[in-house]
Symmetry: C2
Subunit: 426 residues, 2 copies
């Protein structure tokens, strides 16, 4: 038997920077097809075509306040006495003409009569009743146009109100409705296969035998995929054996992406990379696999794989639950956004550190931390004292991740650090 | 006919502070009943009882690295030559004894053999093969316990891992599974009736006639209610008439909360307050209504009503879409959290202002703004130049709300201001 040193690390590629890994994942992913959906099921989808306003909104000049619509020439000298000639209420526009010396009672949201150009607030008017024909006294004036929402203020007919690539939030959908649309052209929901790997895993609801643990990553990833607009497909638990990946994919040719957790390292019992990169030639020939990278300069989460099997992209996340969840936030969220035709940008902020941090090594770090506020309302972040990547209890109670670049110097209590708020349901 | 001055504002209560309004809403709301749900449908729900660990996690000391498990006494002088006596892999624990001079090959996640207390990393070992019985050479040592995840590190058997009131994020559900639970005791989803009011409104998909507009708030609120864990029930569009509210509630006694949009002001055509506070005695007697408040010191969103009708709490939001959406974020989100047994805390941060802001008046202000980053990665917020509360196009493109307290002095480009990130799908 040939002497082999299984442990040498020298011929491995250097650690890949997080940003480059993210870009290479996006470069390796296509977009889903498009379809039309009704507004009631559009939340979280992404527009595949721009949305144009079918009509101007508002469709007419309208009053932003309750008061009286008058002609500016009639209120040049105050007080002015005018005759109430009618009323314009929301949904019940005044259709007559406003003659000299006349005023139209007007309410918020109502059409401004064509001949009126000034809105007098109701508190600046003495009126005896709400009846037409009475005389009212205007005590204070207003510049022409003030408190009038002009036709087209929110959107002009036939102009784009949202671009392709727009993530459909509740407020964006509301805008589409206002623009006259009830069907929207969106990217299809990507179908994401989720595969857990590891001989130690038993499904939720099973009492683990000696040496076993309950699999929890698959459910995390299923919830995560749904929140990011995808359809999760549970592929179950694959055992630690060469070829197990290909086996799990039988009858799942329709997937847009496969996400695995565990088995992503390069140990003797980690087979995801081996199944992809052709270390096992037999599997490779059958499955047309290729690997892009497998080691990233981040903590937690160094062993992350990206490759293809049977021409389906595969993102291999680490098995430790915290590493898996954080790598999902950093890589899977932008990947799923990209597949749905939109750009994902994490929102980050600065916050004040509550305790010291020692200098960072070559890996980008994502520290679990809780958020509080000082008396002045400034955000204070406290990194958890234990940052082990197996500790779900710490992650479940974290509000933010403190992001530290490689070789970040030591930080001290009171310093500002960059934080990534964890979305509430992630 | 008695002279009446419809316009006097003097006998109205002063504007209510946002924080006090929020507290009075919470005080007026009960909690929903509880039920058990399966982990697969627990996302976004709130725990009604603490979750205890059914077993310690990990259930045994395990190795955090690939390497060799040895007895500390055997590696006091280095290099040390030991005999490989077995293997411990994840899911396949080594069950024998480790005698003096022996080493067990061990992999990440595997149980540490009882007699071993030191993990030697594989890169610190020369080994000719992966076979038992061979001699291996330990080149570098490690302190006892290093790279060992101790039994109970994440959770100890029979101790609480999550408290009642915990919002069930994907990571919290993952923790519950790890703790051995597949059913969770949670608060029921509140049933939220959504009623739009206004004679000018037509349903989505209808071409508005002169003076009409498409109703978009109800869909916003339905999506918002779902994202906050509730069940939206669309009550349609009520007309601007006294008693319309009570009419819309016929056959909806099962609601936990009614949310209205529009008609919340005190104009002649705004009837929500009137329907509640007994201005119309006939309606009041029949419907047992009461009102708490209706004017809040905030912009947008001054006319917000909170009261009860037929003993169902009612939150009356303004009709302008931006006011309605922002009031939902500020009042409805914490209200729904409270009904589900949890405390809602907005996450706010500071960011640098890109343009000047004039001094604020007596109302708390929520300015729509976009977020960008400078070269140093600092968050820069740019308030939209138009802040009209009818402009959905501005809200749909906003990333954050700049929060300004009453009487906030003028702010200048470069100043730090408080921002509330808008959740992506809100």
């Amino acid at each position: 038997m040939m002497p082999r040193n299984k442990h040498a690390d020298d011929n491995r590629p250097p650690l890949l920077a997080v940003a480059e890994a993210k870009q290479r994942i996006l470069d390796g992913l296509g977009r889903t097809a498009t379809e039309k959906v009704s507004y009631g099921s559009a939340l979280g989808r992404t527009l595949a075509a721009p949305v144009y306003a079918k009509a101007s909104v508002p469709a007419f000049d309208l009053s932003a306040m309750d008061g009286y619509a008058v002609r500016g020439e009639d209120v040049k000298t105050l007080p002015a006495r005018l005759t109430r000639c009618g009323e314009s209420a929301a949904g019940h526009p005044f259709t007559g003409k406003v003659a000299r010396g006349e005023a139209v009672r007007i309410f918020t949201g109502a059409k401004v009569p064509d001949d009126a150009d000034v809105i007098i607030l109701q508190e600046d008017v003495d009126a005896m009743s709400e009846e037409n024909g009475i005389t009212i006294t205007i005590k204070s004036g207003n510049p022409a146009g003030k408190h009038i929402r002009r036709k087209g203020l929110d959107m002009e007919k036939d102009t784009p109100v949202l671009d392709a690539g727009q993530h459909l939030s509740a407020r964006a959908i509301s805008l589409c409705l206002s623009a006259g649309h009830i069907e929207l052209e969106v990217y299809k929901q990507p179908r994401i296969g989720i595969l857990s790997t590891g001989d130690e895993l038993v499904p939720p609801g099973t009492t683990p035998a000696k040496g076993q643990i309950v699999s929890s990553n698959a459910q995390y990833l299923a919830d995560f995929v749904e929140m990011n607009g995808g359809i999760p497909i549970n592929l179950g638990i694959a055992r630690d054996a060469a070829g197990a990946l290909a086996e799990a994919l039988e009858a799942h040719a329709e997937l847009d992406l496969i996400v695995t957790s565990g088995g992503a390292s390069v140990g003797v019992h980690d087979h995801i990379a081996g199944d992809l990169d052709g270390a096992n030639q037999k599997v490779d020939t059958v499955n047309q696999t290729q690997i892009d990278f497998w080691k990233i300069a981040m903590r937690p989460g160094k062993p992350v794989i990206f490759g293809k099997i049977r021409n389906i992209p595969l993102l291999g996340l680490p098995g430790n639950p915290v590493s898996s969840a954080i790598c999902a936030m950093i890589f899977l969220a932008p990947a799923m956004a990209h597949m749905q035709g939109r750009h994902h940008q994490d929102m980050t902020f600065h916050a004040m550190l509550a305790s010291d941090l020692r200098d960072n090594d070559k890996r980008q770090e994502y520290l679990r931390a809780t958020l509080a506020y000082d008396a002045a309302g400034r955000a204070i972040v406290t990194p958890a004292s234990l940052q082990d990547s197996s500790m779900l209890s710490v992650l479940a109670n974290a509000d933010v991740l403190i992001m530290r670049p490689p070789f970040d110097p030591a930080r001290h209590a009171g310093d500002q650090v960059t934080v990534l708020p964890i979305p509430r349901l992630f």
